[in-house]
């Protein structure tokens, strides 16, 4: 259900969702609920067809739909520079660059309309791109696909070069010997250079991969097929080898291997897939978590990057512009000012490794004390907000060590952060009187801009 599957399964998912909405409580999706959904879907298929979610924007222009649903990631001008874009991995697609990963066209070529429509309809697994079929009508999706094409002059000047129909339909049912043959292709094409000998990066030579815009883009972990951007059917995987993924280091192998070889390679890559936790038994889940912990201990920087990027440190520790967008290139440099009435103004600290103005001069223990106890290096204490250290107090010692290890790797940015400005005692007491006795609303205010010395936002 989670990874992208065939259109038919997706439809069932959608019908299941519609049923769920009227149905009520649910556990985590399990295979039994899939069957349950499927049975109900078959029973009610005609009803579901008429229950197609009507688009709120049915008559709205494509531009209006784009601005309502797409701008936060892809940006007003389609450059993949929306407000939330700096923290998303992978970055949202830059439509102006017109480099599309998921195509049925030759390498370097533009995608077909159907390619764009497929991505908008079903989404991109392993990323934030959702499938919009539940919320937008097919007509809306068509018009948004056309609107996306207006961001790059390439669409007016070039025609997409579809791969030959015979090439597009190659994969058949994989047999045992195709997997073995595919392993030989994996070696021949040196897939291990990026994806590792085991498909999850072990022994990879190219560990510092970047996309065409120069941003870090880790190689896909081939043991987790539910994150395959283009889906995880043999056909989907084969197409990625055949067409390449424009804008990324993933090339097309059309000249390096024939169709049979690529089909076998797809079978081999899919044979590397492990069970996701939702399909595991209790024992397997526990063993998996233990293995993850051991891996985190081996590579704390990687674990720390994961914790920091998911907990949301950069939400506050990055300057924001007046429109609320994060300042790209200033991630973790601090400088967001928060006013906690009646306590005073607080500016988020510079978490980069800068010696003078960042964490470069702090010891590991000082960082840990600040994160989990709200104690600054000078011994002064933070309020339980805006820095939510009481929540971070529950971080495990190993995760704390990992976080510190990762923070040390953030390139230095000089941005001196002013000390908190406390309210004077009179307004402090008056504010607390209003808050506690008069029950007046005392706002927590977030200000745009960079209150640090680097300024310039």
């Amino acid at each position: 259900m989670r990874a992208r599957e065939s259109v038919a399964v997706r439809r069932v998912d959608k019908v299941g969702d519609l049923l769920d909405r009227t149905g009520g409580g649910h556990g985590v999706t399990s295979s039994s609920s899939v069957i349950f959904r499927f049975v109900l879907a078959v029973l009610l298929i005609s009803g579901a067809a008429s229950a197609q979610t009507p688009s709120a924007a049915g008559s709205a222009s494509a531009k209006a739909i784009y601005e309502q649903h797409c701008v936060q990631c892809h940006g007003l001008d389609g450059r993949g520079n929306g407000a939330a874009a700096p923290v998303l991995v992978p970055r949202p697609r830059d439509f102006a660059a017109a480099q599309f990963k998921l195509r049925t066209t030759e390498t370097g070529s533009l995608p077909t309309d159907d390619d764009l429509i497929r991505t908008i309809t079903y989404g991109v697994p392993g990323t934030s791109m959702p499938g919009w079929q539940k919320f937008l009508s097919t007509a809306d999706i068509d018009s948004v696909a056309n609107y996306i094409k207006t961001f790059s002059p390439r669409f007016a000047a070039e025609r997409p070069q579809s791969i030959p129909a015979v090439a597009a339909s190659v994969p058949g049912a994989p047999a045992a010997n195709t997997v073995a043959a595919g392993k030989a292709v994996y070696e021949k094409l040196r897939c291990a250079a990026c994806h590792g000998t085991d498909g999850k990066g072990t022994g990879a030579i190219a560990t510092d991969l970047k996309d065409d815009a120069g941003r870090p883009l880790p190689a896909t972990n081939l043991t987790e097929p539910w994150t395959f951007r283009g889906g995880a059917t043999p056909q989907d995987v084969y197409l990625r080898f055949r067409t390449g993924m424009n804008g990324t280091p993933m090339p097309s192998f059309v000249d390096a291997a024939n169709q049979t070889e690529l089909r076998n390679l797809a079978a081999y890559v899919l044979s590397l897939g492990r069970k996701p936790v939702w399909d595991m038994t209790a024992e397997e889940v526990k063993a998996f978590y233990q293995a993850q912990a051991a891996e985190a201990a081996r590579d704390p920087v990687r674990r720390g990057r994961y914790v920091v990027s998911t907990v949301g440190c950069s939400f506050c520790h990055t300057p924001v512009r007046d429109d609320g967008s994060l300042v790209d290139g200033m991630l973790f440099a601090g400088g967001q000012k928060w006013g906690a009435v009646p306590f005073g103004d607080f500016v988020s600290y510079n978490l980069t490794s800068d010696k003078d103005t960042g964490l470069g001069g702090w010891t590991d223990d000082q960082i840990k004390a600040a994160v989990t106890k709200g104690i600054r290096p000078d011994g002064s204490r933070m309020l339980p907000f805006p820095m939510p250290w009481p929540s971070y107090a529950s971080l495990t010692p190993s995760d704390l060590t990992a976080i510190v290890a990762y923070l040390r790797t953030i390139p230095p940015i000089s941005n001196r952060i002013p000390a908190p400005s406390r309210s004077n005692i009179v307004s402090y007491l008056w504010g607390k009187f209003q808050l506690l006795i008069l029950k007046k609303d005392m706002p927590l205010l977030a200000y745009p801009g960079n209150a640090g010395s680097a300024g310039g936002v």
């Binding site: 985590v28 936060q72 539910w226 009187f433 808050l435 609303d441």
Partner: protein, 209 residues
């Protein structure tokens, strides 16, 4: 005469003490005194009191929920999803929502009720609806996007899908609390401080039936 003087002085001292005491009370009353960090573990204790994971009979659900709990507590979901009060977050109504956050240009958002309540909580959402919010910030209500500074979904998008499912499993264990949350409104301006980008509130915006 002497008695009157004693009474006068006594009353004066009592009055001064009362005023000083009241000011001291204002000064020190939590959460605005700084608790000893060694002893402060509000969010973790709140989670332990509210959700009894040891009661889960299915060992796999239990394992996933334990992982989800660690992520949810350390991420600080409760910082926004506890009902606010003048005395700080109301941890007793764990994850019942109601914290108002106004964002200039985007309107006013109220933190959702994440409890299992079928009427006002997460109990009315499908698994995929919840996962979609945590992955893409897309609301089940018409595909509207949560502004990422009201609901910081862009960071939760970086969870692996497996961790996201663990988070969902944990959220499903939170006991139901009926607490109706008003929908987001499209106010374009902020009322009390035009220089601020966002403003949180100390008043519970939800309603208990």
């Amino acid at each position: 005469m002497k008695v009157r003087r004693v009474v006068k002085w006594t009353l004066g001292v009592v009055l001064v003490l009362a005023v000083v005491g009241f000011l001291a009370f204002l000064y020190f009353i939590p959460p605005f005194t700084l608790m000893a960090p060694e002893t402060f573990s509000g969010p973790e204790i709140a989670a332990a009191n509210a959700v009894k994971l040891e009661a889960i009979t299915d060992p796999k659900t239990r394992a996933l929920a334990e992982r989800g709990k660690y992520i949810v507590v350390a991420t600080g979901c409760v910082d926004c999803h506890a009902p606010p009060s003048a005395a700080g977050p109301d941890f007793a109504r764990y994850m019942a929502g109601g914290l108002k956050n106004a964002v200039r240009g985007h309107g006013t958002f109220v933190s959702a009720n994440l409890t299992a309540d079928r009427e006002s909580g997460l109990g009315r959402r499908t698994d995929e609806d919840v996962l979609r919010v945590l992955r893409s910030g897309v609301s089940a209500d018409g595909g509207r996007l949560f502004w990422y500074r009201a609901m910081p979904w862009a960071w939760f998008a970086n969870w692996t899908e497996e961790d996201r499912v663990a988070v969902l499993t944990y959220l499903r264990q939170i006991p139901a609390i009926a607490h109706k949350i008003p929908p987001a409104t499209a106010e374009a301006t902020i009322t009390w401080d035009p220089t601020a980008l966002e403003e949180g509130s100390t008043v519970d915006a939800g309603t208990t039936p």
